[in-house]
Amino acid sequence: MTALTFYGQRPPGIEGEVLPGRLIVIEATDRTGRSTQVALLKEWLEDEGYAVLDTGLTRSDLAGPGIQRAKEGHTLDPITLNLFYATDFWDRLERQIMPGLRAGMMVLADRYIFSLIARAVVRGVPIEWMEDLYGFALVPDLVVYLDIDVERLLPRIVGSTGFDYWESGQDFLPVQGMFESFVQYQRLLLEEFRLLATRHDFKVIDASGSVAEVFSALRSEVERLLADMGTDPAVHPQASSPEVSAR
């Protein structure tokens, strides 16, 4: 059972006390293989008979397209961009995540409020303001953090699509050069993630290993969470096939 606990005040329009599903969050900086792990986890959970709903940043019907458009211009101040992301987050919480949990699904979130908080804080937005803002966020059942060093991250960037404007913090860092900017930005970001990991009791997994090694560690964490669900008929096996089915 997912108890309906929020970081701050319970937001208006949210009813009920307990939901039969589970909310699992995977957090990590860019290019850690996070999305691959979410996909693997989804496949495994479905194989085990759980209905899965997956969601991630900017995937809301309401604000997703607007954020993409806004970021193309590279002109947004961090407060506006954050409020845009917060709108997207809330829309998904209210219209994807909560209905999924209510229907007894396993909801997988590819990043949650922590990525948003870390990115904003390194850009100078006060952490108190960010935490107040996301007071309406539901406390997940499990937050797994895929931890990696910048040195291990670099070969993955070079080997794939290269350096990205936002992922290199070029919107605010006064550093010359994409490479230098990337290194500095990711260092700041990782530092912030590690602070959040301690404060919010993340399960930390070393992401420098192979995909299979990381997944094995991730699966162990999820198995522990599921151990107490065996007797919960609303979840396992699938009791209902809700409209929000992810398939």
Partner: protein, 251 residues
């Protein structure tokens, strides 16, 4: 205004108007705008829900009825944040007089009616600049409704507060919604020291009152002393066939 940002070093001035629909606040702000321009002040005007980057998303939410109390609140805060950083703050730093048609108090009043926590709202908007003076146009509900009925009254879903399910009849819903907002404004007047203007008075009386208060805050604000285009034309004995009056240089 305990929760808003005070910055005594900003050389500009910020005047804002608030009130329920039909209170006449936009008319009064427009009159103030014209007067300030005629006095040579650099005036920048901004209105609620008008950020070029955000308003498409707001419109999408409204048209598709996607907005809940919290997303309604957040997307309007995003719009306001964008105007604060791209429009209001730069203008105040440049020494302009900024006029805002609706400000954070609109969010405080409307969102509170929709059940959003007031403390959360005040923290959310803590980046907002504290206005030099904030005018609240206080009008009895029946009078505001009469004025609207005389002009535009094609009620949209969120404008009428239909999402609150106060009534299935749009006009009745609008009436109840505006009444609740008005009660919230009453609280905000005390909390934030808004200047209450009796909006049942004649238009000219209200404008007189408003200018009297604004004048007191204009000492030291930069005025354009390059003279107006009309003056230049007159002095040179020209008719001004190729220059448009005022707007271009002053808007």
């Amino acid at each position: 205004m305990a929760s808003l940002r005070e910055d005594p070093h900003l050389p500009g001035r910020l005047f804002i108007v608030e009130g329920i629909d039909g209170s006449g606040k936009t008319t009064q702000l427009d009159l103030l705008h014209k007067w300030l321009v005629s006095q040579g002040y650099l005036v920048v005007f901004t209105e609620w829900n008008s950020s070029p980057i955000v308003k498409r998303t707001t419109r999408r939410g409204k048209n598709k009825k996607l907005l809940s109390p919290v997303s309604f609140s957040l997307i309007h805060a995003a719009d306001f944040a964008n105007r604060t950083h791209a429009q209001i703050l730069p203008a105040l730093k440049a020494g302009a007089v900024v006029l805002a048609d609706r400000y954070v108090f609109t969010a405080f009043a409307r969102d509170a009616v929709r059940g959003v926590d007031p403390t959360w709202l005040r923290r959310l908007y803590s980046f907002a600049v504290k206005p030099t003076a904030a005018f609240y146009f206080d009008v009895p509900l029946t009078e505001a409704l009469q004025r609207l009925a005389g002009g535009r009254l094609r009620l949209k879903y969120y404008e009428a507060g239909m999402d609150l399910r106060l009534s299935s009849d749009p006009e009745e819903s609008f009436r109840l919604f505006q009444g609740l907002i008005r009660a919230e404004y009453d609280r905000l007047v005390d909390e934030f020291g808004l200047v209450r203007v009796d909006a049942s008075q004649s238009l000219v009386q209200q404008q007189h009152e408003m200018r009297g208060i604004v004048k007191r805050h204009l000492a030291g604000v930069t005025r354009n002393d390059h003279g107006r285009i009309q003056d230049a034309l007159r002095q040179a004995g020209l008719t001004g066939r190729y220059v448009r009056d005022g707007a271009g240089a002053w808007a």
